[in-house]
Symmetry: C3
Subunit: 428 residues, 3 copies
């Protein structure tokens, strides 16, 4: 009985068109060109490497796409159990007409060749968008992205600020800032001006959010211009900062971003909890992990200081979800956002979705984003989320609260899309 009920809730959710509010899509090359673009996603390379595949086989310079896929295929047998593998299978089945339930050394080549032809079609990108029901795809843009040459109504700019906050100590980052703004800051006020120019540029190009990923030990705090000026001057003169100075400069820049979010009326996406390069010899993008000992209490000052800025918050550790639910229940400006990275597997999504739907105002929940690098991934990732969402709506609301199916579906629609529009601005 409950399976057919879940199905009844799921169908209207599946036929909805979507906005994907956080991705790493390159708008100049949004879709995959070969199966290697799909299998090159770090979820597959890192899992194959975790199973024993040498990094050198994956990242050999000049490796041809087909050869790369051929090398990865045998290792995929060790990860057939994973949710990530199920995404792969669903993509192959839906987009490339793959009929089998496993990728093997015997069947991959035919799939590779057939999929290659499909991906070479001129309308492949649009085909993927249509088949996936995607109206808009939010991007993760470097602060010096010219934002030219693509439709910013379809591929929506978001200003990613990790480099500004954490990497001004690197000459390349400072040079990029100087080039992007034609400014060479020598004090706090000038650095603020430079950051302001970035916001103005992004605003002129339809930016919908400022975004950043943060390590577990980060605590935002206001830093006076007086304290920051010396550090700005020192770092832009090319001198190394101490760890403590560097942390203070990070706080200053972070706080400055929040101030511009007020001025430019932008939500500030916080993705909290990642430690970079924990596994030093890991494959590309397969090196980051975390320390689950982090708390939103570290953001108390920020949330209090910026009541007019909306903070869609993603947490990396599932153990942080209850705090996220509680802080969103209390703070008007805290929004629950998606199921990020290591929490993006069904067992955690289900528990987290239940908790959010049971305790956070329905207007303050961004259900899901794909975090994808290539367009093809939105379909299986959102499909996974929609199946879980339908299950929770059916069990907790239709059965548990005696809601009608229609009412449950309407709640589903709101967290899947409605809130994305109200929080980041409507799809034009």
């Amino acid at each position: 009985m409950s399976f057919s009920l879940i199905q009844e809730v799921l169908e209207p959710l599946q036929s909805m068109r979507l906005i994907d509010p956080h991705t790493h899509i390159n708008p100049h090359q949004p879709a995959s060109k070969t199966l290697a673009d799909i299998l090159g996603y770090h979820y597959y390379t890192e899992l194959a490497h975790s199973s024993g595949m040498p990094k050198s086989q994956i990242e050999e310079p000049g490796l041809a796409p087909k050869e790369k896929v051929g090398r990865l295929i045998p290792w995929l047998t060790t990860i057939e159990n994973t949710a990530q593998y199920s995404w792969l299978l669903e993509m192959c089945q839906v987009f490339f007409g793959f009929q089998e339930d496993r990728l093997t050394v015997d069947n991959w080549e035919a799939l590779y060749d057939r999929s290659l032809k499909q991906m070479q079609a001129a309308d492949w990108e649009q085909h993927v968008l249509d088949r996936s029901g995607l109206d808009q795809v939010y991007l993760t843009n470097d602060f010096d992205d010219p934002l030219q040459g693509f439709d910013t109504k379809k591929y929506v700019p978001c200003l990613r600020t990790d480099d500004l906050v954490f990497h001004l100590g690197k000459a390349t980052v400072r040079e990029r800032l100087q080039k992007a703004t034609s400014l060479t800051p020598t004090n706090a006020a000038e650095l603020k001006d430079a950051v302001g120019k970035l916001f103005a540029h992004f605003k002129a190009n339809g930016v919908r959010a400022c975004a950043i990923s943060l390590p577990p030990d980060f605590s935002p705090a206001a830093v006076s211009a007086a304290s920051a000026s010396g550090l700005v001057s020192k770092v832009f003169a090319g001198h190394d900062l101490t760890a403590s100075e560097s942390a203070t400069l990070s706080q200053f820049v972070f706080w400055t971003l929040a101030e511009y979010c007020v001025e430019y009326k932008l939500p500030f996406d916080l993705m909290i909890g990642v430690n970079r390069r924990v596994y030093e010899d890991g494959v590309f993008q397969g090196q980051d992990l975390y320390d689950s000992r982090t708390s939103l209490i570290q953001y108390k000052t920020l949330f209090n200081a910026f009541p007019t800025v909306l903070f869609p918050v993603s947490v990396l550790a599932e153990t942080s979800n209850q705090e996220l639910v509680s802080y969103s229940w209390i703070f008007p400006n805290v929004i629950t956002s998606g199921h990020w990275w290591y929490s993006n597997i069904p067992v955690h999504i289900e528990t987290d979705t239940r908790a959010r739907l049971q305790a956070v105002p329905m207007t303050k929940q961004i259900g899901y984003y794909s975090d994808m690098y290539k367009l093809e991934f939105a379909l299986p990732k959102f499909a996974m989320y929609r199946r879980i969402l339908a299950k929770v709506l059916a069990e907790d609301f239709v059965i548990g609260r005696r809601w009608s199916v229609n009412r449950a579906v309407s709640l589903g629609r709101q967290v899947l899309r409605g809130n994305v529009e109200t929080i980041f601005g409507k799809c034009d």
Copy 2:
């Protein structure tokens, strides 16, 4: 099949009469007088505020009850998904004959007027107690509560001690202590005597527990009278304590309370994990949150030092539940107690109930308390818990362990009421 089985387990649990072992009921005004008393509960005001309702609209001085309800109603549409809203609906349906499944701008006024008449009936309080099956309601009494003018067999005193432990630095608290005890402590021994007078007064009035809520970073420790005396003398002379002195004084007073719990044979309710005033501009009682990084290891010294004191422990963060289960499984004097505040939503109650029933002696579990401010809330809150308890009993015990329904119900009765009687003392 399993739904009818859950129903079979649930029915006898639903018809049980209850003792509610922790509430904030005012025994001089236990029931609501208008719907504003119900909707004024911080669960609704804080969620409405979280959804965007300005605090000034909620807390306007002199606001008439009906006007307050009328202002809140439109915001309730944003929280229809929450467990808290489901309590509201159940109260309106059961107590006021509300027939609809939503409170709207169109139907609220009729409900308000009808419910007002019902609440004005002379026997409303008794009607709510009867309809809810409540035999006893435990209170949260200020240390200087005269405990006069109400039936302490029905409304059972519990000595709440947050002010004594954490707020002796406030002149008002010291004055209340001086007034209640006719003592002005100038050293540790005299402060102990003053606290002892409070215990004697409460004992004479049927107190059943000492209780306190504690921040995540609190660690109980014995403090010598010599170390404490200087601090007592300093604070009662009206001087400010440093943060470190204040923490030591808190430890001294807390330890003193535990010593009196030995002498007066009282359980000591510990409610662990709350940070006060995290959201500084939040509505009344809607400002507190937490840091889930806390551990019962901080209570190691306490649990070892007071083997004859029972400690019913509530944890605020669901991530602390496994520690609570494990500490109760090992320490004879640690009891699992209820599902507190941010953990009091179905998804967490279910997991926590499962873990406790699977690993803690059945005699050491206090299933639930309502934490209510007005009598009407016991019914929907206990109903929510009983439904979850019945589900866990049916699935894990009747199906999973092949227990008879009767045996499962008997376990349910024990955690719902039997243990409250053995731990705090029988209902006279």
Copy 3:
């Protein structure tokens, strides 16, 4: 429907023969001799004590086995709800033909007498192994265990190293090391040599793993021989180390063990998170608890430094499971291992199993070990795990991913046994 499906997945898993990759079996006395050996397991004594049974009644010197059981029986009524009690019942039913569903003061004596006769049979040990389907049982051997007098192909040695890492400050431990190695280390190199002799001895006797349990605050780090030498010399001269010196020596010895694991190609079992002697007056082995605030980030340096050593990791707190899953997903040398101690109850096993099967390569998961002290416990503990595993496989893979039952069973076989063979070496 799903119950019969779970049954279909469960049956082939139940009929599998097993290797138990972590136990505390004494190979010279592997099976129980009386019911007191079973009820003397700390899970029962600590729960009875937690319910109120005085320690003195349990640990009275010279207490006869039957008297001990007779004393424990009345207290067992308070723990009938626990998973631990269900193991007891299953053992009594399967091994001793017990027909009732409760142990009571009326029926225990007949059971005691009948079981005593059965356990006195010459082939009792083999009977238990056969009935439980056990091919091999891994041990927990003291570093100075002679490893003589038993079949190391059946009872497989594992080198337990807690004493070496954490207790060289105790004279008895140093004496045992000196006796076992005929060496008296006076510097770091000589201590390394002594440890090397232990590895050589264990290797000659078929050791399959080095193993250790670790407190929540331990962080492995390389320590130079120069830094360590002074500490080795000081401690072996019988002087006390400071807490800081002691911690450094622990790190040195731990790192040395990892180096020998490289040389001897041994997996290094890490059991992370236990605080010893938290409840000081607890019964034997019923005193340890934990602080859930621990992170695998503390092992970053270790996992990076020893890429050729496999680390099967067990975590004590369920809140650490997601980190374990994530670290195993990223680090090739991190393996998920079993469900340890306070996490070894159905509610946590189910969630943890789901997460691991959804995100860790199937080759890197050791599903379960019994941790038993007496052979009879493998049967009910593995039965509990197999039922949960079958449920997860049926729900998440057969239903959720549309796998065939055979394919799901094959995944179950791999985590139950196949991986034990590939990670620790095949059963000869």
